[in-house]
Symmetry: C2
Subunit: 121 residues, 2 copies
DNA sequence: GAAGCAGAATTACACATGTAATCGACAGGG
DNA sequence: CCCTGTCGATTACATGTGTAATTCTGCTTC
């Protein structure tokens, strides 16, 4: 699967959330703080099309864009990449890292424990 | 903290493992499968110096390079970034993801549970 | 002392990415 | 029917990254 750049990812998020959408709709939904012009969003859309992670269908003289890949799949791939690179593929090492950095609240811990317990059954 | 590119990260790994080292030493220790020439490694070293994540001291007419940032710190930052971007900052969501993808072996689960139990004491 | 070698510094060049502006076609309002 | 606004397509341009080659400079060896 093609790599999706950071900025492009913001566009994908919009379309994973709601699709299909026109370029203008996507632009309207991209987080404000990006400060992107419509032109910029259109560039992103073209590049994502070129990467094959979006498809478009015609709607009059506009296009409606929609993702061709599932968010979970992409997220899984990216997480896997990071875990491989930074933790030698060892998930427990990642969790230990987070723990050492106080990134885990008591609620997080409880939630994860419940989750793991369910896995074992 | 400056962002470190994928390739540059490979150089950092070498120096986190053992420092200080000369450019030639780093080149010798970079994973074979990168297939990098010494020149490429030197470019990486300059860029990392420019980013401030390496420092060098003179040793005769060579340099000895060493990291100025700790591996744990960088890894923590990168993991945080990914968790924020892809899981809305929610660690349990990441774990659920991994679980759903069968990325957790029984041993992993046991290890994580032990880890979490220790945290609560 | 000249020539070559070993290091760093400088330069190169293609592709990715962020961030648009411009161009050409067409549809709808006056 | 023509003008203008709206689309997608094409082009632009700076910076980052992968991957070096070339140059400069000083030590070593004849």
């Amino acid at each position: 699967m093609e790599r999706i750049a950071e900025g492009e990812y913001a566009v994908m998020e919009v379309l994973w959330d709601e699709a299909p959408l026109t370029a203008a709709d996507v632009a309207a939904r991209v987080p404000e703080d990006r400060g992107w012009s419509l032109a910029t969003v259109k560039t992103m859309l073209s590049r994502l099309l070129a990467k094959g992670v979006l498809s478009h269908e015609e709607d009059g003289r506009r296009y409606l864009y929609r993702p061709t890949i599932r968010r979970e799949d992409y997220v899984a791939e990216e997480s896997g990449r990071l875990i491989d690179r930074m933790f030698g593929g060892r998930v427990p090492a990642l969790v230990a890292q987070l723990a050492a950095r106080d990134k885990l609240t008591a609620a997080d811990i409880a939630e994860i424990e419940t989750l793991l317990k369910a896995l074992k059954s």
